[in-house]
Symmetry: C2
Subunit: 244 residues, 2 copies
Amino acid sequence: MLLPGERIDQLFADDIQIIQSKEVFSFSIDAVLLANFPSFPKNGKIVDLCAGNGAVGLFASRKTKAQIIQIELQHRLADMGKRSIQLNQLAEQMTMFELGLKNATSVVKPDSVDLVLCNPPYFKELPTSQKNPNPHLAIARHEIHTTLTEVIDVSAKLLKTTGRLAMVHRPDRFLDILHAMESANIAPKRVRFVYPKVGKEANTLLIEGIKQGKKDGFRVLPPLFTYDEQNNYLPEMKAMLYGD
Amino acid sequence: MLLPGERIDQLFADDIQIIQSKEVFSFSIDAVLLANFPSFPKNGKIVDLCAGNGAVGLFASRKTKAQIIQIELQHRLADMGKRSIQLNQLAEQMTMFELGLKNATSVVKPDSVDLVLCNPPYFKELPTSQKNPNPHLAIARHEIHTTLTEVIDVSAKLLKTTGRLAMVHRPDRFLDILHAMESANIAPKRVRFVYPKVGKEANTLLIEGIKQGKKDGFRVLPPLFTYDEQNNYLPEMKAMLYGD
């Protein structure tokens, strides 16, 4: 079941096993944050875009009975994700498609999705960008094969009216995210900033928007801190990783 | 020096005395937050828009040698502000003008200001708005005589290139603020969210933008908490009010 260099990691909080590989892709804490952010529909349809090795959708499976469709461009990552679905016996609830975002509507009906989850590449692709020489990691981190605008436009196409997009990203792209959401007629509704420690600037944000939602009522949720002064996970973070 | 109903309050942290009146206007904690937010120019020119009884500019006088020009529409408030300037012997540094925002350029040269401070009315003026029956308070709190867009457009006119606008407002107007800043060619650069307590949503935001600034590099500063679990001010807040 495992290819060379792969290992099985466990997210204890959700009792999920994940196939990953240092050389190709490992999920980050951001995947855990995203899977704990939205209020999940009980049933219906969830799409996990830029799914990587499938971590976000796998964690989400513990929080909902909705069908979870995962879309990932990279063969090696999508393949790990498919095997993790089997490993966790989730084949009835989850499907991984190896597919570029442009072709998402070939497997998901437009205007049909209740919730899109997305942990996209964070970094703009600029001539000056320092990229990881490992192409798997470079593609996952940099906007090489997709952009923030495309991710949000595709989400808007897939979502039903009042369906929600939940995304994890970096604060320095916050204004870009707002612009792209508004252009796609997704109303930004809630943001939660994640600060590494008390007294530090935010390094991560979680944002939720509603397709064709009202433009008022924007809320800034309680802050989340990752570490205490001794670099130990704080209780909320610990609960997401190891359970209560 | 005092009219009926007026009293002199003191901000101990800055050793400033302020004439105010329950019936007309008293400064709020938001004025203190705003006066402690920007990095002040050492010299040059600062404008305090929607100055009320002058609290923000009076606190700011302790942090800079810049000239401080205050603009307030309401006669009773501007009059209290003028007397507070005298009371604190700040007439060489500060001037209060009783003036609507539309006429700000009649007393301040366009493209000449280093820093605009503004604690504007927070609430949209809607047919359904519940307003304070006291007109002084209603005008200070609701967008009756000015709007967010006008405040930001006037700021843009007054500021020199790379001059900064620092504003205090409510998180539910955050998207409106960003739109208005961008329309006025003020690049939002830094935001700080103020949360009443740990675990609560933000109820206040401080935002700084730069006229004709670059559009990248947006930062979310460390969060500020107002109260501890026993409703006592936390140290940072206490220092702003009572000094270190």
